[in-house]
Symmetry: C2
Subunit: 116 residues, 2 copies
DNA sequence: AAAAGTGTACGATGGCAATCGAACAGCTCA
DNA sequence: TGAGCTGTTCGATTGCCATCGTACACTTTT
């Protein structure tokens, strides 16, 4: 039998070292994506599947955000059965863009409210 | 005669300490604005008027970008005759968002090319 | 096989920000 | 006062991105 095209085929990771500042800033400029990063930062690596995040958007939109974050070198994903587990690429990303991730993770709740 | 409403009336500066991360990232995520910041970083304070920047946009659009940067606490402007001189608020902004400005200023030409 | 659960792909839509030209407002100098 | 310069404001346009629902793909379990 022919090996299955494994769902993981769509899992292309970007080396943080090859990410341009433009892409990194675009990724991090979205509040939903920053929320994902913060949640991830508070949990052990690969302990959170995409569907376990409490996000104010649809499943399709959430999936899109995870794709953007992965493409920006901000997270690594591995498939585990039907789930896709996530890891924040702290060290690698910080090496490429020192301080940027720290700003996102340090963002307090008070600084977030008022949209706009 | 009634004192003129002085052109400077439109010059509202934002204290970098009160800028939210969302606003800072939005400001810095635009390539034209980053170009302004980099140019400014290479010149003495208040030595550059808005019109002296080599930007790929119209006068009206450039004016808009300066307004956004000022509102984000990234620059200080003073009127000198018909000109508006600019100063990069390095220390203040860096105190509020450590490392962010450094990333922008450190962005090399090669990293900028390829749009997208 | 079928059902239930997780996530992606696709096509369409809406809103917002960047952009522009033209008009306006100050300043300086003749 | 008028001309020339600098920069802002205004209204309109455009392009892009976040968003959505639906359909599909894969996995696990029954």
């Amino acid at each position: 039998m022919v090996p299955k095209a494994a769902r993981a085929a769509s899992l292309r990771h970007t080396d943080p070292g090859e990410v341009r500042l433009q892409e990194a800033l675009d990724a991090v400029a979205d509040p939903v994506r920053r929320s994902i990063l913060r949640t991830l930062a508070g949990e052990p690596d690969f302990s959170r599947a995409c569907g376990t995040f409490d996000l104010p958007v649809s499943k399709a939109t959430a999936s899109h955000h995870f794709t953007v974050l992965r493409a920006a070198g901000l997270l690594e994903q591995v498939d585990q059965g039907p789930r896709r587990l996530n890891r924040l690429r702290r060290a690698e990303f910080d090496a490429r863009f020192p301080g940027l991730l720290a700003l996102v993770l340090g963002e307090s709740e008070g600084e977030r409210d008022q949209a706009g």
